[in-house]
Structures are given as C-alpha cells and as structure tokens.
Symmetry: C2
Subunit: 427 residues, 2 copies
C-alpha cells in the first residue's frame, strides 16, 4: 500500500521539458507530458478528509486485479481485468460518517487591474452529510482560465468562491447513476471537495485511455479544446483551403484552434508573445507564426503571413490586435470572439477605432461565444478530440502547478500569459 495508481501511471510518462529561468518549462520537442516539479504524492491528507491506498492484492485469477480504496468514510473494493480497462466497483462499505472539510478560495476583493494574490482568501468549509441523490467529490485537477478574470466582475461579489471547472473523483455516492471512483468534469469553483446532485457533471468517457492524464479533460480533451472545436465549426464555419488567423496561439485554446484548423484542411497563421512560444507553434504545424511583440508592424506581419487576407479569425485577445486584423479579413470573413485577454485587466476601458465601416465593406460576420452554448454536444466534441489525441493528430502541452494553495499564483501567471498550453493546478 503506497502510491495512488494514477500517480504511478503519471510517473511513467515521458519527461522532456527542462525548466526555464522563469520557472516555467521550455519545450524541447516532445510535448506529450505534464510538468511535475515534485513526484511525491501527499498520500494521506486528513485535513481534506481524503486519502487513498491501493495495491495489487493477490489476483483471484490470472485476469483479475483487486484494489481497496478508502475514501471519505468508505471502503471501496474495485476490480479490473489484467488487460486493463476501467475499474469496476465491487463493494462500497461506509464505515464512518465524519464531516468533510473542504478548502475553498474566495474572491476577497474585486480585481483592479492585474489580479494580486491579496485579492484571494483561502477558507475552510464543513460539508454537510450527503442526502439521497447527492455525491461527494474530491478535486484532482483545477483549471485556471482567462474568462475567470472577466466574469468575476459580472457574476461574483466579494466573498464568493472563485468560479471554475475541475476534474474530480467521486468519493461518496448516494446517487445510483454515479459510481464511487469515477472521474467527472464539474464546475463548482475553486474547492477541494464539493457536493453535487449529479446534474451538472460530465463523466469522463469510458474509452479514456489509462495512459492519458485526466487533466486533459480540462484542456485538450475538455473545455479549452471544445471552445476551439465549436468556435471553428459553428462560428467560423471553416472550410478546407481557407486561411485561419489565431492569436494567443500558444495558449490552451489557440494551440488547439490551429491544430483543428490543420486537421480541417486550412492554412493557419498564429502569433504569440515570445520566441519560445513561436518555436512551439511551428512544432505544432502552424504554416506561419510570429512574435507580435517584436514585429515592427503587426499590420505588415499579418499581410506578409497571408497576402490574400483571412477567411477566419479566431480572436482570443481583442483590443488593438483585433482592430488591425479586421482590416485584413477577406470578404464574408468570420470573426469568432472567444476571449479578450488584452482587455480583462483594464481599469479604464480602452478605446479603438469603430469597426462598422470595415464590417460593412467586407460584409463580415463577428460573433462572441461561450462554449457552454454547446453543452448538449459535449459528448460529440470530447469523442472527436479524444480520437485525435489518441491518433497523435492533436498534441497537447500542460502547465501543471502542484498544490491547491497555489491556485491564485497559477491564475495570475496564466493571465500574464506565462503558460504554454493549458494551465492547471494539481491538488
């Protein structure tokens, strides 16, 4: 009894990223791993009332492995065949009914300009006992995304728990539709533990390979990639042979946009804010990529990258970049506004030239969107993304920070665009 089977699995992954001076890893070629500053698991964590033990017990036959897990008051006996595949729960025995304490991050003070660690507060909440139909979940990976900065002002008041999604494990279930031990994607914000009635959960697909980090369910096989998927298909309505422009292209969404556009037969132009990121873009298969911070003229750089202009523009940045790019759209071009990271930290709203004249002259279609619009097609999207990842057509890169207590730091770093690929926090 010692290591969580997941962490054993993760330890065996390819490790090929060196650490840059900024503390963030630099890509050195292969991009199919998570970063793991420390490999040691916190195996027993009473403060969060959750710990697991697992080991290979004597197989009942050549084909069966049993695992005994103790989690939030239950013994869970699981089995699976020696060929791998999902664990199936044999027995769940509740042996204790202690209170579960969740750690949560709350918004102490609305952000003014760039978010600061002092804007957050770490608190503890005692969770009540489960009622019938409810589940107790334990966060495994939490996502930090630019939208949180934007939506905090609109949707939250000071003292509220920070919004966000996570991959979580079901550790107690009074809902027959959900099995203890299963992994789900959930909202519920920055919490180590939470209770759900099951209605707002997305189960990870049964075909999820053991070799794939479950954190990807937040990024390249999750919300970020679904944003790229539906944005390209339903908003940009990209067609083979078209040229697609994407900014913040080394980010969680942008890097998937580019790869999906390539899969869809498009030419892809992207830009990012450092030479390292640009090198990463080129490895991902971008036809043209440049560092927007070092070009003499963004207008010229865009023109040079695609002298015929752009059919599709997947905008993650907004502001001045968008004002320049709009003039290089082709007639009937489509602009999918996914994010506006250049504007989220404004204390005084920035201004730019009005867009109506180029919108009319080129008969452009511009649409803001949130991925939640296609919640009813989540399964379709995840299935497609997972297939491309497994086939190696869709590469991923994650920036994993360890420790729930580091959520604000990970969030702030992501807003400063220090990350390459998807930024997540491992609890």
């Amino acid at each position: 009894m010692a290591l969580d089977s997941d962490s054993l699995l993760e330890d065996s992954r390819e490790e090929d990223l060196s650490t840059s001076s900024s503390g963030y890893p630099q890509s050195t070629g292969r991009v199919t791993t998570t970063d793991r500053p420390t490999r040691m698991m916190k195996e027993m964590n009473y403060s969060t009332s959750s710990w697991r033990m697992s080991q290979n017990v004597q197989p009942l036959s050549l084909w069966v492995t049993l695992t005994c897990q103790i989690s939030a008051g239950s013994f869970i006996l699981q089995r699976r065949g020696s060929q791998g595949g999902p664990w199936s729960v044999q027995r769940t025995i509740s042996f204790i009914n202690w209170m579960v304490t969740a750690k949560v991050w709350v918004l102490k003070k609305h952000f003014e300009g760039f978010s600061k660690t002092s804007d957050f507060d770490l608190k503890k909440i005692e969770l009540p006992k489960l009622k019938d139909g409810e589940l107790l979940l334990e966060s495994v990976f939490l996502s930090v995304d630019p939208y949180m900065r934007a939506y905090s002002r609109r949707d939250m008041k000071e003292g509220d728990i920070m919004i966000g999604t996570k991959v979580a494990r079901i550790i107690e279930s009074k809902n027959p539709a959900f099995t203890v031990g299963a992994f789900v994607v959930a909202n519920h914000g920055w919490r180590t533990h939470f209770i759900s009635n099951g209605q707002d959960l997305h189960l990870l697909p049964p075909s999820w390979p053991e070799s794939l980090p479950r954190s990807l369910a937040l990024g390249t096989v999750g919300m970020s990639a679904l944003t790229a998927y539906f944005g390209l298909l339903e908003v940009c309505k990209m067609k083979p042979g078209e040229t697609v422009l994407v900014n913040a292209a080394a980010g969680a969404v942008g890097s998937v946009v580019a790869q999906l556009a390539k899969i869809g037969g498009c030419k892809v132009v992207g830009c990012a804010g450092s030479d390292d990121k640009v090198a990463y873009l080129k490895k991902l298969g971008f036809d043209e990529a440049f560092n927007y911070k070092t070009v003499t003229s963004l207008d010229e750089a865009l023109r040079k990258a695609s002298p015929d202009g752009y059919y599709c523009f997947f905008d993650n940045v907004g502001g001045e970049f968008a004002s320049i790019a709009i003039n290089q759209m082709k007639k009937y071009g489509r602009i999918a506004i996914c994010g506006a990271v250049s504007l989220y930290n404004d204390t005084v709203p920035q201004k730019g030239p009005y867009i109506q004249v180029p919108m009319i002259f080129k008969e452009l279609h511009m649409e803001g969107f949130m991925v939640s619009r296609w919640n009813n097609r989540w399964e379709e999207g995840v299935k497609a993304l997972l297939k491309w990842v497994v086939e190696g057509k869709l590469k991923y890169h994650e920036q994993v920070m360890e420790g729930f207590e580091n959520m604000p730091m990970a969030f702030i770093g992501m807003l400063k665009r220090e990350n390459l690929g998807k930024a997540v926090v491992k609890v």
Copy 2:
C-alpha cells in the same frame, strides 16, 4: 398632344404635405405621395435628346387606347386596353440617329468631412451609337444614399462619375430582351443617359400599379427596402415577439425596417434626430420612438423603451450610438450593420470602447452587409414589398428634389439627415 402620361398620373396623386421652413415638407398625416415643388413637366428637352409626346388618339374600339411616343430617335406606338394594365409596344420606328448627350456628375475632389457642392463637377458626354445587344436608357429618378459617401473613398478616384442607382426608361433597344418604353432599375451612377448591355438591369415588375410612383423602385419597393428586408430576414433573423431597435429610423431604410418588423410580429423601438421625425415614426406604428438628440441619456432612453433589452439591432448609424446600444442587447442578440452614417464624414477616425467583452458575455452575432449579396433574390423581395405597399401595410414617404442639376444638393441634404423617408431626384 402634351403631357406625358406618367406626369398626368402623378398630378392626380394625393397631395398632403406642407412645406416646412427648412424647405423640406412636413408630414401632416398621410404619407403616400411624392413632393412636387412644380408640376410643370419639361416636355421637350433637346439638350438631353429626349422628349415625349402622348395623347389619347381616337380609340380603335371601346377597349383600346393608343399612344405615340417619340423618344431618342424613335416613334413608339403603344396600346393598352381601357381597363388599364401595362402598355404594349405595337411598333418602334427609328427615324433619326443623332448623337445622344448625357449629363453626368463627376467627383471633382474626394470628400473631406462633409461633402460640398464644390466637390462635384457637371459634365457632358457624347454617347456612341448602340451596338447589337445594347440599350439606351434615360434616367427618370436618381437615388441619393449614404453609402455613396462611404464608398466614394474606397471605390472611386477623382474624375470618376458618381456611383448610384436610378429608375430609367429604355429609349432605344438593340437587345430583343428589352422593349423600348419599359422601366428598369439600373446602376451606372449619376447620369441622365447611359448605355447598357442589359445584364445589370432589374425590370420593374409587370404588376407595378400605374397609381404607384416609379421612384419607389429605388426606395420602398427597391434597394432601400430590400436592404431592410434581407437585413431583417437573413442577418437579424427576426422572430415574432422579439424587440427590434433601429436608428436613423425616419430614413429610407429605417422606416421600412420598422414596418417590416411590425409585419413580422415584432415590437419596434426607433429613434431619429428631430421631433417631426419622431412624430412620423409614431404614425408609422413604432411602439416606442424618441429623439436621440434631446434625450438626457441615450442609455436610459433605450432602457426605458425596452427594459428587457433588444433581440435585434438594425444599425444605420454606428459610432457612439452603437457602443451604447450593444450593452442593451439580449443574450444571443443580432446586430445587423447596414450603415454607419455617423462615421462617413470623419477626417480622423473616431474611437470608442472595444466591443469584445459585451460580444462574448452576450454571445452576440454582428454582421455587416450590403444588399447586393441577395441580388439573386431581388425579384422575391420586390414582389413581397410591392404586395405590402399595395395592401397599405407598408407606407412610404419620399423626398423628391427636381432637376438633375440638384443632385449634389440632394445628396448633401440627405447626408445631413434632412430627409424624411427616401431622398430621390427627379430628372
């Protein structure tokens, strides 16, 4: 032999508009007429090589009326039954082959700020003899529209003939598909006469009632109204029960937008720049209408007019108005950018707040468009509009200035938004 049958017809129309101090008529209730400062026709105009004579000759029977018309070198014998209906040509006899001189207005100097009469030059052009397949046309009504101001900078060089559409009569035809005497809608710019190969002409529908001014083929049964029609149907995708906002609502497009939205079962909010115009909007059936120049706060006025916000915004103005209105759109709202009259006269581009954040939050769809996109559905649109006009469901108002020499003045007045409804010039 004396009066053109059209002018006879026009003389018999309802006249119910008094003239305001600005020289533009004020609406006094009924709005189904053109303005006619003088009723006298220029019956013979040698300088433009076009004159007509017509009279009722002895009917051959009780049921037939003959008209003899002389136009640009041809006798045209036409007949129609005493029950009315379209004239049919019995005989066309070419008797002379003189050169036709067209008057044209050219752009002398690119507009800087507001257009001035000194930016235009009136010239004469000798037209060549027709080749096989060609037609000679004589302008009857010319349109002046805001887009001309915007497109002149992009599409024209100094010395070019001003762009624009008109209703014209075919006065000579070497194209078997077109009959002398027929009326068409044509481009070809600000010219009294022009030659066409017939490919870019829209024939007025055969069902055009004699009682209806043909100038409407430029406005309420023409380009302006088609802009409203396709903008609402294809860009806004309005649905019954939705609230539609339209600005420049007393203009050629705006006034039709509102009426079509009402026909489509929507609630309509509009604004214009004078109390007279607002009174006109209320007569047209707007649910809410206000003078944007006199309200204390546009934001408040919009909120008061529709506390629940707007599903559709048909934008003819752009700029600051659009920046305020965007914040009152409903989730999934649609913004059809038809014009940007507040920006066309800029010497230095105006700036406003970037729109990406509200675009994302409300998942708005914004689309610039030009009516030419639906040229292949012109007939469908005209048919629908004509039906509504004949049924009295779609009211019209025209601001008719007489004299081709007054084109620049009419254009400048329209840009200053002095007109109510559609501004046209009668040659």
